[in-house]
Subunit: 240 residues, 2 copies
DNA sequence: CGTCCCGTTGACGGCGCTCAAAACAGGTGG
DNA sequence: CCACCTGTTTTGAGCGCCGTCAACGGGACG
């Protein structure tokens, strides 16, 4: 485990392999032959929409954004990925359906689809773990559908801000914000200007503080209320 | 296989089990003990958002819609399911994150999560098949995000109409339309009236014909063009 | 100091939502 | 068969949210 070349117990593949009792050590040794570690700089494109997909990645550190650009138009962010998640595991089509770009410096493990399928067939524990990851991604996607489908601009931004809080973190703390206004707009299905306006409004009403590249929640309960549906009665009533 | 009580080779569970060589017959016999067949009438609620989830279903026939209603507001349809897909396989939370409702008469196979996990651990082929289903659902969800995020009303409706065409079907044919205008609106993040207006406009321009409960495509190429991004220059130019 | 990029702010117009009523279909009972 | 009622679909009028266009400010960097 410690002498495994990819050196990370938290990786879905390694982690699961290590704990899958019946094969054990032999499997660990086998898999490290097919895993490659890769690094990407912030802003670097990992793979591009429409290119043939042969490999999949397991994110170790950093964040990725998945984007799509239908025909000639603005980009839409389909989702954000953090450590532990899979990306590029496409089986139905032979090309990636979205572009993956590093938002921060990224470390990831690479494996070809062919090898991955073999690993899954031989290691039920890994398969279970992969199923769990897909479930999580699907839940995230459904949350996005909810937001895009019914929430007005202010509620979308509020929901987005709440989603930045790391699990089990103290509020009233300052969190890093790696997305630009434009990227937030692309994530929320809004225009850059609208996002900026909502941020300004929230700052004016001391709901948040937003220095460069960071954000700080000043009034969690009200943000949470705004994030719920825009309930008819103008949100201004709540903000002022 | 033919004497299996659930009697369907096309079910992910049975199908996969039958073809998983190394266990074979024994597994088939084992699984039919934990599978239950259920029927639901059109309009019947299969399970409701927020209720504890212990079972998952494999759709045999019919269609389901998955809906959510955040706080007090309108419903949002998260997705539609057809035969072969899984529903209710939630592992992270103990409650269903959406409501499942039958759109047509439905037949499904039921299995508890606990049993399902055991089946997955013992049958890699089933696990692979399940992963594939989740991938497909994720792709569908991402298509919805794309549509909701950037497309104007007309393009959303056009995309929806195109999505009704069964795989490998002849166009110029008449397809069943099980969703009401309100449901289409909830799926596309629009109002009922807007959907109705777009349908009317399309009918006026002989793009479609829409008798009760059915729809017929009259001009596939133009519908396809409208479904692409609304590219700035008014769509009226295309329609007239 | 000039340039570039990002964020902010203002003015304006249009898409699509809201409210309301009419047209329509389907089912039920007289 | 027709009157009646209920729920769906259609159509109209009005307006508000938000997207577009444009100009400005500020920090990073050469």
């Amino acid at each position: 485990m410690l002498n495994c070349r990819c050196q990370h117990g938290q990786c879905v593949l390694c982690g699961a392999l290590v704990t899958s009792g019946d094969h054990g050590k032999a499997q660990v040794c086998e898999i490290r032959g097919v895993l490659n570690r890769r690094r990407y700089a912030a802003g670097e494109v990992v793979f591009r929409e429409g290119t043939p997909c042969t490999q999949l990645l397991v994110l170790r550190t950093g964040q990725l954004k998945l984007t799509t650009m239908p025909l000639t138009g603005r980009e839409q962010i389909l989702g954000l990925l953090v450590a532990g998640q899979l990306v590029g595991f496409e089986t139905s089509d032979a090309t990636y359906p979205y572009t993956a770009t590093a938002l921060t410096p990224v470390e990831a493990c690479c494996i070809t689809h062919k090898e991955m399928l073999r690993v899954l067939e031989e290691n039920p524990a890994v398969a279970l773990s992969v199923i769990q990851r897909f479930r999580d991604e699907l839940v995230q996607a459904q949350i996005m559908i909810r937001n895009l489908g019914i929430k007005p601009a202010h509620a979308r931004v509020a929901s987005f801000i709440l989603s930045l809080i790391p699990a089990g973190a103290n509020h009233e703390e300052t969190f890093p914000l790696v997305l630009s206004r434009l990227e937030i707009a692309e994530l929320l299905g809004l225009s850059e200007e609208t996002v900026s306006r909502v941020f300004a409004e929230m700052r004016r009403n001391s709901l948040i503080d937003a220095p460069h590249g960071e954000i700080r929640l000043l009034d969690m309960p009200r943000i949470r209320r705004i994030a719920g549906i825009g309930n008819g009665e103008s949100w201004h009533g709540d903000l002022l």
